[in-house]
Amino acid sequence: MKKSGRFIFQKYDTENLINRRAALVTIAKAGVFSVLVGRLAYLQIAENSNYKKLSDKNRITHRFLEPERGIIFDLQGRPMAINKQKYEIIIIKEETRDVEKSLVNLKSILPHANIDIEKILKEVNSRKNFIPVGIIDDLTWEDFSKINVNIHKLEGIYPQIGFKRYYTQGESHSHLIGYVSQISKNEEESNPLSKLSTAKVGKIGVEKAKDAILRGKLGNKNIEVNASGREIREIDRVNSVQGNYIQLTIDSELQKFCYERLKGLSGSVSVINVKNGEFYALASSPSYDPNIFSKSISNETWENLLSDKYKPLINKSISNQYPPGSTIKPFVALAALESGVSHKETFFCDGKHLIEDTSLESGYKTFHCWKKEGHGNVDMTKAIKVSCDVYFYQIARRIGINKIAEVCKRYGLGEKVFKSLYEEKSGVVPNKQWKLENLGSRWMVGETLSAGIGQGYFLTTAAQLSLALAQLINNGMRLSPKLIYDIETSNVYNERIIADPKYLKIIKNALDEATNAPGGTSYRSRIIGKYKMAGKTGTSQVRAISIKEREEGLIKNKDLPWEKRDHGLFIGYGPTTDPKYAVSVIVEHGGSGSGSAAPIASDIFKYLFEKKLNLKRNEIFNV
């Protein structure tokens, strides 16, 4: 063996050198193996419990289970709002590495689907990581199975079966029942279902008013999932609890009839049982299909609904306020009787009534009767029958606004009928104090005259008018208005008498004459037969008529643009012999009460007399 003197090799013989170097390498290898063993011991023994937790967190996922919403039934037990199964897709941010990529993949699998990636991204990022966000709400079975096949490409995206609300009665009931839609940001706090982005909440109507009862309770389950989030097996589960059912006092057939009768018009109908205060119909027209809200509604459809001048989204029976016009006269008459005015006392009507007004050049202000030539001598019965304005100007002036307001309020005007419906308006029954508080000025005599014929500051709703009339013709029995049967509103009725039956008899008789005696304002709409209806028309102005216009001759309603025509109102009851129902009809800009509203009321009464004379609750078996 040669020995090298050069610097490259160390001065050992080659054989020895290799052995030494190999030994060093072997020692190094042994060292490396020890490090590996040490590392494994650290991971698998020392850190075992930590990694065990992480492993469980990986594999076990918590999912909430959507409860089925309670069903809404009508008076007869017909389901009006039910749930249907639907196929939907959701995304969970926490369970995907790249939300956008998953969405793009989804789009390539369902090219025809309308997926707004930007909108969903925004939604996903605005919510907590673990909250599932809906992507497509209502999927066909074909698309649903396509997603299931391609699920491995769709990290964080899950197809699932959910519920959609379905309204069996369609647009005839939409205002009343309302609809459900996505839970909005400000509702999240108060709604436990907001943990589930696909859950819905009532937005309006009964759906909103009774949401807490209808919504049910979330269930949840722990499932084992694989890395792409696919459910492998269920570990445990707490089932969701379906929301409680609700039964309304509404008779869906009657409601439908009322709605159909209003078709083509803008207005509302309210039907109430005069004996127990149950509302059998609250229809509003025009309407919308509540089932469009089950799917995500397009902006265009929504904008169209909002901007429609006939306001299809508004429930006109409770949310639109109208001056009652002449329909207030029975209540003013009652106030007069209570103030000592005899119903036999006559006033002379020559078509107008003057009051002093120093602010005007002539020194007086003229109040006109609707009949230019006047009614001559009128007593109370005739005044109601022919709706003489001058008569009511005079008695209003005599008894004062505060007395009129007191009676109107006692009958439920100027106050919400249903405490639970959020969208209901209360109306206005003005008096001196009200004006001072709300307008900051003193009451004028002229305003009392206006109030005497239901004009001026007076505002009521159809529901209020029907309730007020019901209490007037049921011999003055106080009613608790009822729309929903539930625990809160019991079946106990307050039977307190709120007016002297002697006076009510006079007014009832006058209303009967107004419909069933020749010359009455609604005589043309009378029902000939065993059962009759009686009622009061009303025409409420929506514009001020100038002196000039009066001199030149009034413009006929049909020559005016729609928005400027008078509202037509009618309140009526029947059968006249033993009153069971009170009905109010309001036709927006319908011209006159006798021309537009009374015929509708007449048709509704005919329908009631023929088909619904004994409407009664068909109690749903309570679960």
Partner: protein, 375 residues
């Protein structure tokens, strides 16, 4: 030098003189791999386990073929074999198959092969012959520069594929032979120092995904759902296995697909999850035993060529095991190195069997003396 008659008549004698403990350990490792793949494929033998077995049988054929060749013939054709493997690397950009942004495979008669796996061993072969052939008093150029060039050429070709992990193994395997052959340790000190200094420069030549992997290695939480995902999930699987493991075919991380690449690079993790620390320790012991036997066999050879070749093969094998396990336990960056005999992968299996064939050939022919030739 080569006697054909002798070749055939000595075949039986060769089979007899094989070191059976070593072969036994190799077969044991194969069965461990088979069991792991059977678990990963959820009890379906016909998918990965079947192919893995076929590859192992093919590997055994290569192993015995290599044994039956005369060692002097292998010595004589060492450069040619090395040159052919370099050619296969060179043609990859033109004929190769691209996958995941890297071109590493070529298709030979319907079989995809990864030439870089074989280059690990052909480089050792070439260097063994080279170091065997130079005289002890050779100058600086002969002892350092030329072998360095031989080493750097395949490393460079593999880096451009790009395949940093394999390139590093080739480099480390080559360098390990420099050490064995007795290069002055001062050069290693200078070398390590200069590599450390040139790291910032090298950094610029790394691909973005490689940079990401290195950065993620130093801080896995940097990107827990991206590059850190592999390391995190791998550590979770190992750690949750505990001492005794979750049980065969009961690993949740692996069976629910949280583990990436579990049939190839991360198969050790899957074994760790199902068999726990006991399992991983046993596996490491098998590898250690295999390496110890290899070193012992290597040192029995009389010729330098055989020693260099055997130790080189042993070193490459060790680096494989270390880099793979270091990677899945989070000690090293994720560079994509399979676990020999266990990971699912044809080229790696055939190449390792080729390597151990060379080692065994050296052992069988340990008494042959190979003369120095002109290189």
């Amino acid at each position: 030098m080569f006697n054909q008659n002798n070749f055939y008549s000595s075949a039986f004698a060769k089979l007899q003189s094989i070191n059976y403990p070593l072969l036994g350990l190799i077969i044991t490792l194969f069965f461990v791999g088979l069991a792991a793949l059977y678990s990963i494929s959820n009890g379906d033998f016909n998918s990965w386990p079947l192919k893995h077995s076929q590859r192992f049988i093919l590997g055994l054929i290569i192993f015995f073929l290599v044994i039956f060749f005369d060692l002097r013939l292998i010595f004589g054709y060492a450069y040619v074999i090395f040159f052919l493997s370099i050619i296969s690397l060179v043609i990859i950009p033109f004929f190769g198959i691209e996958s995941n942004g890297a071109t590493r495979w070529i298709n030979i008669a319907g079989i995809s092969l990864q030439p870089s796996e074989f280059v690990k061993y052909t480089l050792i072969l070439a260097l063994a012959k080279y170091f065997h052939s130079i005289s002890n008093d050779s100058g600086f150029i002969k002892t350092l520069i030329i072998p360095l060039i031989i080493t750097v050429v395949p490393v460079f070709l593999v880096i451009t594929q790009p395949d940093l992990g394999t390139a590093l193994i080739i480099l480390l395997g080559g360098i390990s032979l420099f050490w064995i052959s007795g290069l002055n340790y001062k050069y290693f000190i200078v070398g390590v120092f200069s590599i450390l200094c040139s790291l910032p420069l090298l950094w610029q030549y790394l691909k973005d995904y490689q940079k990401d992997r290195v950065l993620t290695f130093f801080n896995p939480e940097r990107d827990p759902l991206g590059n850190g995902y592999h390391i995190m999930q791998s550590k979770i699987a190992l750690g949750s296995g505990g001492i005794f493991g979750k049980g065969y075919m009961e690993g949740t991380q692996s069976h629910l697909n949280f583990l990436p690449e579990m049939q190839t690079d991360f198969i050790f993790t899957m074994l760790g999850e199902e068999f726990g620390f006991i399992g991983t320790l046993l596996l490491l012991l098998i590898y250690a035993a295999l390496i110890m036997i290899s070193i012992r066999l290597a040192l029995k050879s009389r010729s330098l060529f055989s020693k260099y070749l055997s130790l080189g093969v042993c070193n490459v094998f060790f680096i494989y095991v270390f880099v793979n396990i270091g990677m899945v336990t989070g000690l090293l960056p994720v560079v994509g190195v399979p676990l020999p005999f266990i990971s699912y992968g044809g080229s790696s299996m055939l190449a390792v069997m080729f390597g151990f064939g060379l080692l065994m050939n050296c052992y069988i022919n340990r008494n042959i003396i190979i003369e120095k030739t002109n290189y």
